[in-house]
């Protein structure tokens, strides 16, 4: 399988006032389609920054990022927004659902950017909610759901427009053990049974065990790569 994400010589520098902070140094990385990658590293290692760059939330200072063959490192803000709409689904540590919308409406959010009719949007969202096992909670507001349930809604939202990548920033960071396991299991299912390419930042080694590959970052460079023993048997990758 070809690389769905190609990163070459990627650098990111932040300027805070007079200070120049180089967060990423000349990173090179390929991620294959159907892979489940965990990004780990101490705080300040640049893992979140790398994730943001892959997901098109930010633009690099140097180097290139290509997703599914398309270069995204030099796109304008509007172009990036359009690109994100059909190519990335985000999952955050604090869920980031809109509190005044129901689960159903939250999941439909990305679909508002498409030309689908209201009925079609509803159908797609219902399907996504079923997939994450929350079909019967569609009408509930986030305040009426547990942390784990909210994260599942977030995942449903992330996959509803069938994006190229599913990107998570500490998706289990705010969950108790049991809910974390549920979420990670769901992610693994999405990867294994539905072929979704997932890139996840985490600081929890136990969470990283669900991934097929773990990348370690330190001070802005890739220092280590681990492959899970189950990786070879991954059907998604083999496809």
């Amino acid at each position: 399988m070809g690389a769905i994400v190609e990163i070459r010589d990627l650098s990111k520098v932040y300027e805070r006032g007079k200070q120049r902070v180089e967060v990423l140094h000349h990173v090179n990385l390929d991620i294959e389609e159907g892979d489940f990658v965990a990004l780990m590293g101490p705080s300040g290692s640049g893992k979140s920054t790398l994730l943001n760059l892959i997901g098109g939330l930010d633009s690099p200072t140097g180097g290139t990022v290509a997703v599914a063959g398309k270069r995204i490192d030099k796109l304008s803000e509007d172009a990036l927004a359009n690109w994100r709409a059909s190519n990335v689904g985000f999952v955050f540590q604090f869920y980031n659902l809109l509190p005044m919308l129901s689960a159903q409406k939250n999941v439909e959010l990305p679909l508002l950017l498409t030309r689908l009719s209201a009925a079609q949007r509803k159908r797609h969202a219902s399907t996504a909610l079923e997939l994450v096992g929350l079909a019967e909670r569609a009408a509930h507001k986030p305040s009426e759901l547990s942390g784990g349930q909210q994260q599942r809604v977030a995942i449903a939202r992330a996959i509803v427009s069938d994006p190229t990548l599913l990107v998570g920033d500490e998706p289990t960071g705010d969950l108790d053990r049991q809910s974390a396991v549920e979420i990670l299991t769901l992610l693994r299912e999405l990867n294994r049974d539905h072929g979704k390419t997932i890139i996840m930042v985490t600081h929890d080694p136990k969470a990283a065990e669900y991934a097929l590959r773990t990348l370690h970052l330190d001070k802005g460079t890739l220092v280590e790569t681990e492959e899970s023993p189950t990786r070879e048997r991954s059907e998604a990758l083999r496809a």
Binding site: L57, E77, D78, A81, F92, N96, P99, L112
Partner: protein
């Protein structure tokens, strides 16, 4: 549009705060509706189509001075004057001075020049035939329970009869209706025959208060007016002829600079409103920066986010404003039906198209002004900073 539910949900996120702000907006536009109604009444005078075809001729010195009746034939001869009638202010009182309504002695053909006052042909004929006949407006008749055939005595305040009596008795021969609800205030008049008036009054015989001229061609108003005034130039009864609208406006204008008063009050009100709703919107957007950031991560463009926030502030203004204007309309209706009209029009115009258009324009404009800064803030937010809580 499909984003509407997003805007609505955002607006009502903090129900109490939004509701309170809506009430303030409601109050502001209630005032706007009421005050603009008063202002319009004083600015326009009569606004019917028929009014545009009429000229009023009064004494140049003062409209309280009488003109000779002999002018009638000469005015009729002026080219461009399709029809001429005349009238005299009577100023009668029915039972109690507090029951004031306008009363006038008019020529037989008076109603020909006022087609907007609908009078049945048989009643018109009765007015022509019966010397003491009186035609009253439907509103007036309803108020005092008068019917055709009733005898109505009025006490004169200005014109006693030759026999020194102040009491004039009339027979109601007709009741006229006004179809246009905007002009319903004109159904408050009491008309009787000038011939009877002139015959029986003690002084001023042979004079009329004013002439009303119907134009053959509306566009030649100025020329006809000049020609009429030329008839009496350098005489002891110089006239001033102008369109009915101009005449009314001048009368109203003498009352007060209503426009200035209303403008000042509304200025203060809208200044406060902008501050108030601006504050609410600023707070609302500040609280929702992370949510707006999420929208952007999902793929909403900056411009869409700008539009969503602007939409929210405009919706806020429109919801409260429509409620306020609606209420104003109801109040004005109630006031107009219960208060007697002072003269030909009442001091409030119904809250109709013009006021609604102005009001809606103000709502949208205020909404845009108030939402501009917060919308820009939302548009410009940097996703990464916003999500990490900066």
């Amino acid at each position: 549009m499909k984003y509407f539910h997003l805007i609505w949900a955002a607006l009502f996120r903090r129900k109490t705060r939004t509701l309170f702000t809506l009430f303030s907006v409601l109050a502001a536009f209630l005032l706007f509706g009421l005050l603009d109604s008063v202002r319009s009444a004083f600015a326009v005078g009569s606004s019917s189509v028929a009014a545009a075809e009429r000229l009023i001729t009064v004494s140049r010195i003062s409209f309280t001075l009488a003109l000779p009746k002999s002018l009638l034939a000469r005015i009729q001869a002026v080219p461009g004057a399709a029809d001429v009638t005349y009238a005299n202010w009577f100023g009668g009182v029915y039972q109690d001075p507090k029951n004031f309504f306008p009363s006038q002695a008019v020529a037989d053909n008076f109603f020909d020049l006022y087609p907007e006052w609908e009078l049945a042909p048989d009643q018109r004929k009765a007015f022509h035939d019966i010397r003491t006949g009186a035609v009253v407006g439907a509103t007036l008749a309803e108020k005092f329970h008068w019917k055709v055939g009733d005898k109505i005595p009025l006490q004169a305040t200005i014109f006693p009869q030759k026999n020194n009596s102040n009491t004039w008795t009339f027979d109601v021969v007709g009741i006229y209706h006004v179809a246009d609800p905007n002009l319903r205030g004109q159904e408050n008049n009491f008309f009787f025959k000038w011939d009877y008036f002139d015959e029986a009054r003690q002084f001023g015989n042979g004079t009329v208060g004013w002439y009303v001229v119907k134009l053959a061609d509306r566009n030649r108003a100025d020329q006809v007016a000049e020609a009429i005034d030329a008839l009496s130039a350098d005489s002891d009864h110089e006239t001033k002829t102008e369109s009915e609208q101009a005449f009314m406006a001048a009368m109203m204008g003498q009352f007060a600079d209503i426009g200035l008063i209303v403008g000042t009050i509304m200025g203060a009100v809208f200044f406060t409103l902008v501050l108030l709703t601006g504050n609410t919107m600023a707070q609302a957007v500040r609280e929702r920066i992370p949510e707006l950031a999420v929208l952007k991560t999902v793929g909403f463009t900056s411009r869409t986010v700008l539009g969503l926030v602007l939409g929210e502030s405009v919706l806020l203004l429109v919801l409260g404003g429509v409620a306020g204007l609606g209420l104003a309309g109801a109040v004005v209706s109630a006031v107009r039906t219960s208060l007697p009209a002072m003269g030909p029009t009442s001091p409030m115009v119904p809250v109709g198209e013009a006021i609604w258009l102005r009001g809606l324009g103000l709502m949208v404009l205020t909404g845009l002004v108030v939402g501009a800064l917060p919308a820009l803030k939302g548009m410009r937010l940097r996703i990464v900073d916003a999500l990490s809580g900066h």
